[in-house]
């Protein structure tokens, strides 16, 4: 990463952090419209397996993607810590189901590296980068990839 001489501020971005199956992920905050707790999701029969169903959020019908299922983990029951992150991408409004919401964090670009090919597991396909913050590792998600429903992605 090229260093700007006497940069007023190093390039940074604000992210929203959340947990799925014990791992911390991050989304750029401008992509997240809002977060909410949900009690139940209406299942949609014959939808892709990782689609939990639909919910009614802020007056709109929002599809819910179960991130555990998307990343290849077993589903877990909804509890009080489960959060729905409603994101927007390409004019679509989708809800991402996470186990737990963590914090807002500003991460400098310098702390982020592109994902290695070697990162195992399905979630490697959906990453924009990996951030190292001290001894903490945060995986930065690519929303478009998460929502992609091409035949190869259908789990």
């Amino acid at each position: 990463m090229s260093e700007q001489p006497s940069a007023a501020a190093a390039a940074t971005e604000t992210y929203i952090l959340f947990a799925v199956a014990g791992t911390t992920y991050a989304l750029r905050s401008h992509q997240v419209l809002h977060m909410e707790m949900i009690e139940q999701v209406t299942p949609v029969p014959n939808a892709p397996r990782f689609v939990e169903g639909v919910v009614f959020s802020r007056g709109q019908v929002v599809p819910v993607v179960n991130l555990r299922a998307r990343f290849g983990f077993d589903r877990a029951p909804l509890d009080l810590r489960t959060r729905l992150l409603v994101v927007q991408n390409d004019g679509r409004r989708i809800g991402l189901l996470a186990d737990e919401a963590r914090e807002f964090l500003t991460i400098p670009d310098s702390a982020i590296q592109p994902p290695h090919q070697a990162i195992g597991g399905l979630s490697g396909n959906y990453l924009d980068g990996v951030a190292t913050l001290g001894d903490r590792i945060v995986l930065i998600l690519n929303v478009r990839e998460v929502l992609e429903t091409s035949p190869t992605a259908a789990a």
Partner: protein, 669 residues
């Protein structure tokens, strides 16, 4: 004429008409009173007084017809008061104007109480006050120009009921003088039966003199009796006696222009270009249109199947007609939906009264500007939006607008302004409630929310986040208890209502300058009747228009032939499809199932569900995202408890099923 003695349906329909008409009059009364208030202390606009008189007169008659005594009596008193004011017997001041307002409110309260089946409010005290008001204390002869006529005339007075203006001509003659009838005699007689507006001597051919009187009287019939005394008369229709220009008279319909004194036209002001429509009929119409859409879709299917059997030219003609039909049907559908549109002014018109009362009670001075009252929104939306908008307006007065001295100290005019505006923007209607009050201090609000335990990060709060904070359930503002914004409608409910209707709420505020709340609503609503069905743990809505019949089924009577289940139905075999199979839903065996019959004749199919829990009107939200676009589901709807259920796409379902099914299974029993 009383409504008793007729069947209950007739009576209730009659009452509905009464309430509808009464409501129209009450609205007109409210509006007129407000205009009148603005004119207190100056010339009261005659057309307004006439309108008020007319309205009370009509309400009196209507209430008598339905035996609503209290309303009749109050209306009668109001009518008397208005007559006294019109005649100049009573001068309206701030104090006695309030009595009029109280009377109007009481009248409304009585009618509303009757409608709700509640005990009627006591009317005695207000009636007394009205009676006192109507009694002319002293006659303050409101001196107006007598007109260019030479002779003195008594000041013209507002015409009472049934009074007319006559032109009376007296031709004196020596014979009449012998009988003691001179011009003064005639003049005295005329004064006894009415008011003289003008007296003018005229020179007649031959050098004689005649006298022309303009007389305002309710007793014109007496004039005929004096024809032997040299008196001839004629009703003055077109010639208006001179009258000072009316200040602030509305640029009104021609017949109510300032051509006073004139007889008040007690008939309603002519036919208008509007029809009052029963909402139920409108819904029926929309349902029919919905049915037509479904039928045309089936026509479409048949045509597609026909294509290979029909010569190209013929088929093309058919297809053209079909397309034409589709286009016309779409136009019809839009047209019918447009009939449901009503001007948003229906909500706005109640606001001036609310603002007036609340401003006065809270010691503020508020001016209300209404913009875009003709903007139209769906009737369904009007009803749901009344409370939210009321709440925003009340909030503006009790929270935003500062008291006059505080405003003056801030360099603002002592009168605060609230602007209520509506406009269309593409496919949406935008309603704004703005004020020039103290604005919302985002940081202060965030601090208060944080103090209450809300997890709000430090730093700048944008307008979206601000809205989230103030709309969060549990975010208490001090007004939740005070009368102004009471009744439990908080900001959370405002936002929830707006969003339930498919709209959005936004706020823009600048501390010290003012606040604007913006409500965006969809212009048209897809509302339809649906049958709510259950399959296992799932709930589906089936549009009523697609359903031919609902039949209870004993699973034991179903017969299986090859892959299909069949049932005997109306002398034929009905293929059945289990929704649980179609959608891969796990179900427990049940002793009874329900079949929803869709399609007609040979194309009929029975959809098997576990049970049916009723029928309701639903607002259809289409499903567009590819992730959830599945065959057989066309949309979703919110049941009102936050739960979303899916709406079945019946025609797509039947198409899929029909194509799947081998033809020879459709066997008549």
């Amino acid at each position: 004429m009383s409504s008793s003695g007729q069947g209950p349906d007739f009576a209730s329909g009659f009452m509905d008409d009464y309430f509808a008409e009464a409501d129209e009059h009450l609205v007109a009364i409210r509006r007129s009173l407000l205009v009148l208030e603005a004119s207190l202390g100056a010339d009261l606009p005659a057309p307004i007084l006439d309108d008020l008189f007319r309205s009370f007169h009509s309400l009196k008659g209507l209430s008598a017809m339905v035996d609503l005594r209290e309303a009749e009596v109050v209306a009668h008193q109001m009518e008397s008061c208005l007559r006294a004011v019109r005649q100049g017997d009573v001068v309206l001041t701030g104090a006695n104007f309030e009595t009029l307002v109280d009377g109007a409110k009481l009248l409304e309260a009585v009618i509303v109480a009757h409608r709700m089946g509640q005990p009627r409010p006591p009317v005695g005290r207000t009636l007394e006050q009205l009676e006192t008001l109507a009694r002319p204390a002293a006659k303050p002869a409101a001196d107006r120009e007598g007109g260019p006529a030479s002779s003195p005339a008594t000041p013209p007075v507002r015409p009472g009921e049934d009074e007319r203006v006559w032109k009376v001509i007296f031709v004196p003659s020596p014979q009449l003088v012998e009988r003691g009838i001179k011009v003064d005699t005639i003049r005295t007689r005329l004064l006894q039966i009415g008011h003289l507006l003008k007296v003018e001597p005229k020179v007649v051919a031959g050098g004689g003199i005649s006298f022309e009187f303009h007389l305002q009287t309710a007793h014109g019939e007496q004039l005929g009796a004096w024809s032997d005394d040299g008196v001839s008369c004629e009703l003055l229709a077109a010639v208006p006696p001179p009258e000072p220009p009316e200040a602030r008279a509305r640029p009104a319909a021609p017949d109510s222009a300032a051509r006073a004194p004139r007889p008040v036209d007690l008939a309603t002001a002519g036919p208008t270009n509007f029809v009052r429509v029963d909402l139920g009929r409108l819904d029926d119409l929309m349902r029919l249109v919905g049915d037509m859409v479904v039928t045309r879709a089936r026509l479409d299917d048949s045509l597609q199947r026909l294509e290979r059997h029909v010569p190209f030219q013929e088929w093309r003609a058919l297809q053209e007609h079909n397309t034409g039909l589709e286009r016309q049907l779409r136009d019809l559908r839009e047209g019918v939906m447009r009939v449901r549109l009503v001007p948003v002014g229906e909500i706005f018109r109640r606001m001036p009264f609310v603002v007036r009362d609340l401003a006065r009670d809270s010691g503020r001075r508020v001016q209300l500007d209404l913009v875009g009252q003709n903007t139209e929104i769906d009737k369904f939306l009007i009803e749901r939006m009344m409370d939210p908008i009321l709440h925003l307006v009340r909030n503006a007065i009790t929270h935003a607008i500062e008291k006059p001295d505080e405003r003056a100290a801030a360099g603002k005019p002592p009168e605060g302004t609230i602007r209520l505006g509506a406009s269309t923007a593409g496919e949406s209607v935008v309603i704004e409630v703005s004020d020039d009050g103290r604005g919302i201090d985002a940081q202060a609000v965030a601090a208060r929310a944080r103090a209450g335990g809300a997890p709000i990060p430090e730093g700048p709060i944008d307008q979206g986040a601000l809205l989230d904070i103030i709309c969060a359930p549990g975010f208490s503002t001090r007004d939740e208890v005070d009368r102004g914004s009471g009744r439990g409608v908080g900001m959370a409910v405002v936002r929830a209502t707006v969003e339930e209707l498919g709209g959005a709420l936004a706020v823009e505020s600048e501390a010290g300058r003012g606040t604007t709340f913006r409500i965006t609503l969809p212009l048209t609503l897809a509302i339809t009747d649906a049958i709510i069905t259950h399959v296992g743990r799932h709930t589906f809505a089936v549009p009523q228009s697609a359903v031919r019949e609902v039949v209870e089924v004993d699973p034991g009577v179903l017969r299986s032939i090859e892959q299909n289940e069949l049932m005997t139905y109306r002398g034929a075999t009905l293929p059945m499809v289990r929704l649980s199979d179609l959608f891969g839903i796990r179900v427990d065996p049940r002793p009874r199932l329900h079949a929803i019959v869709i399609g007609d004749g040979l194309a009929a199919i029975g959809l098997l569900v576990d049970r049916i829990s009723g029928q309701r009107e639903i607002v259809v939200k289409t499903i567009t995202d590819p992730l959830i676009r599945v065959d057989g589901v066309s949309g979703a709807t919110e049941l009102g408890d936050g739960r979303l259920i899916l709406i079945l796409d019946v025609s797509a379902l039947s198409r899929t099923l029909r194509d799947r099914r081998p033809v020879d299974s459709r066997v008549s029993a």
